[in-house]
């Protein structure tokens, strides 16, 4: 029988207003095993914690029940308090009488009654709690960054700077990501390449950083501090260590008709290519979908002209297996395709472009060498209509996304401003629902577009774009003046929503990291742990977690790096002791548990047992690796004999709670 102390928190008036805390404390005092019961204004405060600590010492408590806010808030606080006076932290249970009681009930009698029941359930559970001691595991002092965009680069640089080795895995032939495709960056209008490429070079030169370009993650095993990752280095048919990046092959390759993804398919590249001039690593890659040699075995031009003999048509995918202590996900985003939005005629007219395409049209390295020309006829456009929120903030979410893509307002203002600056003869209209410009110098930037550059901002949505006689007839509503507008535009630019990279979902499965319904990675806590995923040792950087601009991305990247560094400096990790365990005397060896374990934490072995009738028997029994087990409990239900149970959430503990609630 435990000696239990009950501590009822008022949480100021948050709890006390709808729960009679004194009565809760009094009633719970009557429960078996309860030797101390008290209420206090703020249990989480220092004096509240002291109250708990003193009671533990004075009454030799073996169990503590705290009736307070959600365990998700302060479970750790109270566990630490208990531990500081020598009580095992896992002898503390929380009855959630705030979020699940006082805040949802208005009637004090109801709230009080429910709080007592919740308290009883926690007491019933604590009776069956056993002191748990967390296991320890070593930390591999190397980090993996998945994605080589600005988020990944920044994270890797920061981690490397702190002295830890870090590998970047990038699925395309070069790092740089989406930022490399941008022309200028808001709100300062400095050249994107000018600020990004030095970082790319730095990453390439940093000794602690190893870049696996043109590579993907095949498999992730292990757990925080001890991940084992299989990286698939896709065959690029060019020996990376030999290729000098001279680019001769990319000029001589006879296959000229390959859409250039770097320029959003608005021009062509060769089958062997270097994505762009500043690519890192600056190594050619053969696109197996277009290479005549790879497809038909006839050609071999590049191989013939390569001075260093770097071409290798026989190259195969290579699997590299490496160990990491931490993994950072920086898989970034893609703009959604506006093809689904028939009303904007994106598929019908080449002059309807996405913002990223427009970005390339404005860029000196782009398909038009930086001159703004209509894709259809190469003529200079005079009237340009920008449409905001294409696919963002959609209600139905069938075609679009329910969320705000966050960066579109600013880049549209940037595009409008740059257009007006370079081509003052151009009329620029921006149709918007709201203009959202919270950020340092953002609103000023937007106002300059309106006030200095005379961009026509119109609140309203474009209803239809009809290509007609070389023009794009734009029908729109001006919600402020409440009139229908008809604009004959030369170009329409769609500020398409962003979405996570499609590779993210399968990666999440491999990492056992969770995602929200939009496939953005979920953070461990939306406010307090925004750069960690709920899976220990997996961190989030950049757009993979949610829409954000470059400054925010870089901030998060550095924050993630800081978290990784904080993890890697540790020599040992203390695990979660609430893990599964197998009672070998009950185990049948049937393997059901092994099959449902998502972590491969269960292994079987034949062991000799002394049976009750004094004979010995060799039996196949399960054992759980506590360092690998994450404590989900899937095995406990798969086990028919009840040999598998979970520390901290044992069958008997949960049933005791059920009993107490139903009493």
């Amino acid at each position: 029988m435990q000696r239990i102390g009950v501590f009822v928190c008022w949480c100021g008036s948050n709890i006390a207003a709808t729960v009679d805390v004194q009565r809760v404390a009094e009633e719970l005092k009557k429960e078996p095993g309860v030797v101390f019961s008290a209420d206090y204004q703020y249990m989480c405060s220092e004096s509240g914690q002291n109250l708990i600590k003193d009671a533990i010492k004075e009454h030799a408590l073996t169990g503590v029940v705290i009736c307070s806010c959600s365990p998700r808030m302060h479970e750790n606080t109270f566990r630490k308090a208990a531990a500081s006076v020598g009580l095992n932290p896992y002898m503390v249970e929380i009855a959630n009488i705030r979020e699940q009681c006082s805040w949802i009930h208005k009637d004090k009698a109801t709230g009080t009654e429910k709080a007592i029941i919740l308290g009883r359930a926690a007491i019933a559970k604590v009776h069956l709690n056993a002191p748990l001691i967390a296991g320890e595991s070593p930390v591999t002092k190397r980090a993996l960054v998945i994605g080589g965009g600005i988020a990944g680069i920044q994270t890797a640089l920061d981690i490397a700077e702190a002295g830890f080795e870090v590998d970047i895995v990038e699925k395309s032939p070069t790092i740089g990501g989406k930022m490399a495709q941008l022309d200028k960056t808001f709100p300062t209008l400095d050249c994107s390449a000018c600020i990004l490429t030095p970082k790319m070079v730095e990453a390439a030169q940093q000794e602690k950083i190893k870049i696996y370009s043109y590579s993907e993650i095949d498999e992730v095993k292990g757990f925080v501090g001890n991940f084992s990752v299989k990286i698939r280095r896709k065959a690029r048919y060019v020996k990376e260590d030999i290729c000098t990046g001279c680019g001769l092959c990319t000029e001589k390759c006879p296959q000229k008709k390959v859409p250039n993804e770097f320029n959003m398919g608005m021009d062509n590249r060769r089958a062997i290519y270097i994505p762009f001039a500043q690519a890192v690593p600056k190594v050619a890659t053969i696109d197996p979908n277009y290479c005549t040699m790879l497809k038909t075995g006839k050609c071999g031009v590049c191989s013939k002209i390569c001075g260093v003999k770097a071409i290798d048509y026989t190259q195969q995918d290579e699997i590299v297996e490496a160990k990491y202590g931490a993994i950072v996900v920086a898989t970034g985003f893609n703009p959604i395709s506006p093809a689904k939005f028939d009303e904007f005629a994106y598929s019908q007219s080449p002059d309807v472009v996405t913002s990223l395409e427009y970005e390339r049209l404005m860029n000196a390295a782009g398909p038009t060498n930086g001159t703004l020309l209509r894709p259809s006829d190469g003529k200079h456009p005079h009237t340009i209509v920008f449409v905001q929120c294409v696919g963002s903030r959609c209600d139905g979410a069938e075609k679009g996304k329910p969320y705000c893509s966050k960066v579109c307002c600013m880049y549209t203002a940037k595009h409008a401003m740059l257009t007006r600056e370079k081509y003052p003869d151009t009329d620029v209209y921006v149709f918007y629902i709201d203009v959202r410009t919270p950020g340092k110098n953002f609103d000023e930037f937007y106002r300059r577009a309106v006030e200095e550059y005379n961009v026509h901002y119109i609140k309203g949505m474009v209803g239809k774009v009809v290509p007609e006689n070389g023009k794009l007839k734009v029908q729109a509503a001006d919600l402020l003046s409440n009139e229908q507008l008809h604009i004959d535009a030369d170009m329409v630019v769609l500020a398409t929503a962003v979405e996570p990279d499609p590779s993210a979902r399968s990666l999440a499965t491999k990492l056992t990291a969770s995602m929200d319904t939009n496939d953005f990675f979920t953070e461990a806590h939306p406010k307090l742990r925004p750069v960690e995923s709920p899976t220990a040792g997996v961190f989030l950087s950049g757009m993979c977690q949610g829409p954000k601009d470059i400054p925010e991305t870089v901030s998060q990247a550095s924050a993630a790096a800081a978290k990784v560094i904080g993890l890697l400096v540790k020599d040992k990790l203390v695990g979660n002791p609430c893990v599964a365990h197998s009672d070998e005397l009950l185990c049948n060896g049937c393997s059901s548990c092994e099959k449902v374990c998502p972590y491969g934490a269960i292994t079987y072995s034949d062991k000799e047992f002394r049976m009750p009738d004094r004979t010995t028997a060799l039996r196949r029994v399960a054992a759980v690796n506590p360092a690998v087990c994450q404590g989900c409990g899937a095995c406990t239900v798969a086990c028919p004999s009840g040999a598998m149970d979970l520390f901290g959430f044992s069958n008997n503990q949960i049933m005791a709670e059920v009993d107490a609630i139903c009493k």
Partner: protein, 147 residues
């Protein structure tokens, strides 16, 4: 609504997974979204931790309804837990139905940490289902009813 049901205060046990639904319930609280006090939540690490024995135990002890809440399929903190829970509960519920136990007494709902509103709505809807079903008579243990 029948008159006789007015007196009936159902007893409802909700098993909520720690990562999504329990957090969803917290969010419902944070947003002061009301749902009946008849619902009492038990925190489990994952919906796959819910053993059919717990559900039967709740009915034995006098529960009128049992609801299991977990992360949306695909969002399980443990990747696959709720997929197993989904099959297990489907099988169990079907068996209970086969034995003639009212179908509505057990339910599985997926509620994410962000769906405080949905949590409250789910609980309101479940409570009203149970009120319309009335007291659990088919899986009761009379020994536990004499208070």
């Amino acid at each position: 609504m029948q008159v006789e049901n007015k007196e009936f205060k159902p007893l409802i046990v909700a098993f909520c997974c720690n990562w999504c639904s329990y957090a969803g319930a917290d969010l419902a609280g944070t947003n002061r979204l009301n749902y009946p006090a008849d619902v009492k939540i038990i925190r489990v690490p994952c919906s796959c931790r819910v053993n059919p024995m717990f559900i039967l135990r709740a009915f034995q002890r006098g529960a009128d309804g049992v609801i299991i809440c977990g992360c949306h399929p695909g969002d399980c903190h443990y990747t696959t837990g709720n997929y197993y829970a989904r099959r297990r509960m489907t099988a169990l519920f079907s068996m209970l139905d086969y034995l003639g136990i009212e179908k509505g007494r057990t339910r599985v709902e997926w509620v994410s940490a962000a769906e405080g509103q949905r949590f409250a709505e789910t609980m309101n809807s479940f409570v009203s289902t149970i009120i319309s079903l009335g007291e659990n008579k088919r899986l009761e243990d009379l020994r536990c009813k004499t208070k």
